[in-house]
C-alpha cells in the first residue's frame, strides 16, 4: 500500500508493521469488524420485532395463536444454538431450492435426493451457480439474519411476555375504568410501561448476541474470529512477504479489546435508557427520580 513497502525484508520494525497491517488480507480482517457491527445493527431490531410478536401471540385470546406463540418460545429456547444454526440454515436453504425446483423444472425426472446428494436443476439453485461471489455472500448474510432473529426472538419473546405481565394490575384496571378497550389498554398503558421491566432481560440478551457472532462462521460468513485465526497463524517465508510465527495471541487480544469496548459502550447506553424509561413510572426507579426532582 505504501511506497516503502516494496522490500519488506529490509525494513525496521515500525515501518514493517505499517506495511504488514495494510496488506489486502488485513483489510478483509478490518472489513469483518464492520460486517459484525452491521449484522448486529440489523439482527437486534429484527429479533426484537420477532420477540414482540411472539409475546403478543403467547398472550393472545385465540387458542391456536396462543399455542403457536408458546411453542415457538419453548422449542427455540430449548434447542442448542449450534444445532439450530447447523440444521436450520441447511433446511431453510434446501426448502427454498426444493420449491424453486418444483416450480421451474417440472420435467425433471431424476429424484432430488440421491443418497446423500441434494440435486436440484441448475436454474433452481439459490443463489445461482453463475451468480457472482458477492450474491452468495449476501444470501448467506440474509440466512444468518433470519436464523439469528428466530433464535434471539424466542428469548426476547419470553422476556417481553414476562414484562407485559409485570405491569401493575392497578394501572390496567384504571385504564379499563376510563373506558378504554382491551386494545387501547394494551397499546396505551401496558406496552409503554412494560419496557422498563423488560430492559434488564433485553440488555442481557444484547450482550449474549454480541458474543454470539462467531457462530457466523458456521454459516460460511468470514467473521473477525475466522480472520484472527487465519492471520495469526504461522506464516512461512515461502508464501508471504511478511513471515511471522504463531501470533494468534495478539490477534485474539485485539478481539478481546474490541468485544470489551462493545460491552462497555452498550452498558453505558443501556443505563441511560433505563433512566429515561423509568421517568414517571410506578416503579422504585421512577419513584426515586420523582423524589429527587426539584420541586
Amino acid at each position: 500500500m505504501w511506497s516503502w513497502c516494496a522490500e519488506p525484508d529490509a525494513l525496521s520494525s515500525v515501518t514493517w508493521l505499517s506495511c504488514y497491517l495494510t496488506t489486502g488480507v488485513h483489510f478483509q480482517f478490518y472489513n469483518a469488524f464492520f460486517k459484525v457491527l452491521f449484522l448486529l445493527a440489523i439482527i437486534a431490531p429484527v429479533s426484537l420485532a420477532f420477540g414482540f410478536m411472539g409475546a403478543m401471540a403467547a398472550r393472545s385470546a385465540l387458542l391456536p395463536l396462543r399455542w403457536f406463540g408458546r411453542s415457538y418460545i419453548a422449542i427455540v429456547r430449548g434447542v442448542p444454538d449450534i444445532a439450530f444454526f447447523l440444521f436450520f440454515v441447511i433446511a431453510l436453504d434446501q426448502a427454498f431450492e426444493w420449491m424453486r425446483h418444483k416450480a421451474m423444472c417440472p420435467d425433471w425426472s431424476e429424484p432430488i435426493r440421491q443418497g446423500a446428494d441434494f440435486i436440484v436443476c441448475q436454474q433452481a439453485k439459490l443463489p445461482l451457480g453463475t451468480a457472482p461471489e458477492w450474491i452468495h455472500q449476501f444470501y448467506a448474510f440474509g440466512l444468518a439474519v433470519v436464523t439469528f432473529a428466530i433464535v434471539f426472538g424466542a428469548f426476547a419473546a419470553n422476556v417481553l411476555f414476562g414484562a407485559m405481565n409485570a405491569v401493575p394490575r392497578a394501572q390496567l384496571e384504571t385504564a379499563e375504568a376510563y373506558g378504554m378497550s382491551p386494545r387501547q389498554t394494551f397499546w396505551r398503558i401496558q406496552v409503554p410501561q412494560m419496557w422498563v421491566f423488560a430492559l434488564p432481560g433485553l440488555s442481557n440478551l444484547w450482550q449474549i448476541l454480541i458474543k454470539a457472532t462467531p457462530l457466523l462462521f458456521l454459516l460460511g460468513i468470514e467473521d473477525v474470529v475466522y480472520w484472527a485465526r487465519e492471520l495469526g497463524g504461522t506464516k512461512t517465508s515461502r508464501f508471504t512477504e511478511y513471515p511471522h510465527g504463531d501470533w494468534r495471541m495478539w490477534y485474539f487480544l485485539a478481539l478481546l479489546i474490541f468485544y470489551l469496548l462493545m460491552t462497555w459502550g452498550s452498558e453505558k447506553f443501556l443505563n441511560r435508557l433505563t433512566l429515561r424509561l423509568s421517568k414517571g413510572q410506578a416503579t422504585t426507579g421512577g419513584e426515586a427520580q420523582r423524589k429527587e426532582a426539584p420541586v
Partner: protein
Amino acid sequence: MKTLILSTAALAVTATFALADGHAQTVRMGTEGAYPPYNFINDAGEIDGFERQVGDELCKRAELTCEWVKNEWDSIIPNLVGGNYDTIIAGMSITDERDEVIDFTQNYFPPAASAYVALAEGVDLTGGIVAAQTATIQAGYVADGGATLVEFATPEETIAAVRNGEADAVFADKDFLAPIVADSAGALTFVGEDVQLGGGVGMGLRESDGELKAKFDAAITSMKEDGSLNALIIEWFGPDAATY
C-alpha cells in the same frame, strides 16, 4: 415483520428467476485456504497456491467458468454434497472411505510422503501423543497405530500443539511441513521414517456429477501429457518432488 421477511424472501426468489436462463455453467471450486503449498490465502487476501494454478488451468482447458470458494476442512464434504459448491480441490487424498461418499477425478498430484515433526530427535512415535488434522488420512493412520491421537480442526493448531508441548509430534503431509521446519530456525525437526499414504491428491465431486468429472479427468490427462502439470509441481514443491 413476518410479512416483510416473507416478501423479502419471495423477492429474492423471483429476482433470480430473471437471471436463470441461458447461462453457461459456472463451477464453484471449494478449498480450505490454510494448507500451503496446496492452497493458502496470500497477502492480497486471495486464494493462492499449487491448486489455485492447477484449478485455473483445468478450468481453462475444460472451457468452464470457475469461481473459488473457501470452506472449513471439517465440513468440506457435507457442503459439497449439499450443493454449496461443485468440486473440492483442497489437497484431498483419494481414499476408499471418501470414495464411498463422493467421487474423485484421477489424481493431479502423485501419492506423497507424510512425515513426523517434533521438537527434538528421539520422540516415541509409536506410544507417544501425535497431533493430526481432523478427518485426514494422517489422523486415520495415527489412530490405527499405537500412538495416542489428538485431532485439531486446522493444520496450524497441530503445529502449535507440538510447539507448546501438548503433543510429542505432528503427523502431516511432508510438503506442508517442510517450509515450516525450514523457517523454524532449528526449533522443529523431522523425526522417524516417512510414510507413504493415500492414492494421490484428486479433485472431489458429487457422485451424481459424472459429466463434470469426465471433463476434469480429460483436462488433467492433457496437463499430464504436455508436461505443464509437472512444471507446476516442481514450481511449488521443489525439484525433488515426485512427478508424472
